[in-house]
């Protein structure tokens, strides 16, 4: 291996590397976002208290069962196998020829959704019971409590886990080369197949993967810190502190 040959591969193939990196980033980013939304919906559903009415309770049970099955199955099987089953299975069963890119996004989304459902549920369960009670005590219903009090805190709490999923997805989309999506690994394989410089080509891919995961991690850390706000509080205005509270008489 020589440094020159690496440079040569880059200069000759940079558009392919770039496109591969772009597709990888697109699949993993969209997949993580959709997956997180799936996770939010299922996670919230799984914390709804059991309804009192029989009909609602049956629906609640059935949906709960389906969601559990979904989570177990997708967490319990490798994504590379899911990709084959879904891509070739949909072609065989329904005669649909899925666009490879959409298929890839679909697979990453539902796979991430299975993991995120558990993360969201954990995030909701970890919110102090007092937050729910205070919301209920002022008359908020379950949806209002979730929307205005609980979920904003859950989102903040699950951000590190979501970043983690994003990074895992950037790396794991490489398995989608089995359905010939033109992501970074697939592109590198093609490049290396032409120039027979496997080591150099994959070294370049390696560096690109690392730069992507490193940058994404840093950006999301920055967002986390931004969301947390400053550590100290500056008092508004500089009026004298009121020591004895004054209340008006109630009429």
């Amino acid at each position: 291996m020589s440094f020159e040959s690496v440079i040569k591969i880059v200069t000759e193939n940079w558009p392919m590397f770039l496109r591969g990196a772009g597709v990888t980033l697109l699949i993993s980013m969209v997949g993580t976002i959709i997956g997180a939304l799936i996770g939010l919906l299922i996670g919230v559903f799984r914390t709804i208290p059991r309804p009192d009415r029989l009909f609602k309770r049956i629906i609640h049970r059935v949906l709960g069962g389906l969601f559990s099955a979904y989570i177990e199955i997708f967490r319990g099987t490798p994504m590379i196998v899911q990709a084959m089953v879904i891509y070739y299975g949909s072609a065989m069963a329904f005669g649909i020829d899925m666009d490879r890119l959409y298929a890839a996004i679909f697979i990453v989304s539902i796979n991430t959704g299975a993991y995120m459902s558990e993360i969201v549920r954990g995030g909701i369960v970890s919110i102090d019971k007092g937050q729910f009670e205070a919301a209920q005590a002022i008359g908020m219903n379950h949806i209002q409590t979730m929307r205005h009090v609980v979920l904003p805190q859950v989102m903040r709490n699950i951000l590190p886990a979501t970043s983690n999923e994003f990074v895992i997805n950037i790396k794991d989309t490489s398995v989608l080369n089995v359905i010939s999506v033109t992501e970074l690994y697939f592109q590198t394989k093609t490049i290396a197949g032409n120039n027979f410089k496997y080591f150099e080509s994959f070294l370049i891919a390696c560096i690109i993967y690392f730069v992507m995961t490193f940058t994404v991690t840093r950006i999301l850390r920055f967002i986390e810190r931004k969301m947390d706000g400053p550590d100290n509080y500056m008092m508004a205005g500089n009026q004298m502190q009121v020591t004895t509270p004054q209340f008006k008489e109630q009429s």
Partner: protein, 242 residues
């Protein structure tokens, strides 16, 4: 005297453990009532049953002439008429002090942003927290959090304000600031129901004291009478500890 809430034969069990046994009890308009009693006697459970954070297992709660334990009754519509101040403050961590006092008004009472903020500011000023309106709960001391929590409850303009040991989680030097706020409130004619271990305070602000033991109301009466001339043996035993 006009009753705000009437409790009749209220019962609450956790599994086979009967925590409230046949409680009869009325809170009248403008009255300040303190509930005292030893740990585990069911004081918190009673308060939590009144605003339905716990579902009573029997009895009735009459509010505005209706039993709100009827299946048909809208729980949330009833709850917005009661304010609750918790021992652990329970401020919404994702909102600042002002936001804590605004969100319920906006979403439950459907007030406009302007009106909700004006009302919130008034009460935050009353509790001496107007300088901290943009502070998140994590920036506030325990006493400050509790004062914001009181303002949050007041901003809903409830018929009754329930307090569950509002100073028990506070460092001793912060107890005073919260009790002072509550004393001022007591003088405004607000109806208050307070669970407390602060006997001096209870005696000073309360129109009536209720003594609970093992899930029943043992004795109740005007503060002076209950503290100075209790009739029941259990009350005497409890008060001797102070």
């Amino acid at each position: 005297m006009q009753p705000v809430i009437e409790i009749q034969h209220l019962k609450k069990s956790f599994g086979s453990h009967e925590v409230l046994k046949d409680i009869d009890f009325t809170v009248n308009k403008g009255e300040v009532v303190s509930i005292i009693g030893s740990s585990g006697s069911g004081k918190s459970t009673l308060l939590r049953c009144i605003n339905l954070l716990e579902k009573p297992t029997g009895g009735q709660i009459i509010y505005q002439g209706e039993n709100i334990l009827d299946d048909t009754h809208d729980m949330n519509a009833y709850r917005k008429n009661l304010g609750m101040v918790f021992q652990q403050f329970n401020l919404f961590n994702n909102h600042n002090a002002l936001g804590n006092c605004v969100i319920g008004q906006r979403k439950v009472l459907k007030r406009s942003k302007k009106e909700a903020e004006d009302v919130a500011m008034n009460y935050l000023r009353d509790v001496g927290m107007e300088q901290y309106i943009h502070a998140k709960p994590k920036h506030l001391s325990g006493g400050q959090k509790q004062r914001v929590a009181i303002a949050r409850a007041l901003a809903m303009e409830p018929d009754v304000l329930l307090f569950d040991e509002p100073t028990s989680a506070l460092d001793p030097e912060m107890v005073g600031e919260v009790l002072n706020v509550m004393k001022s409130l007591a003088h405004t004619g607000l109806t208050m129901l307070i669970v407390t271990h602060e006997m001096e305070f209870a005696r000073e602000v309360s129109d009536r004291i209720v003594f609970m033991d093992q899930g029943v109301i043992v004795e109740q009466g005007p503060a002076q009478q209950l503290f100075d001339n209790p009739t029941e043996e259990r009350t005497k035993a409890f008060l001797r500890r102070f």
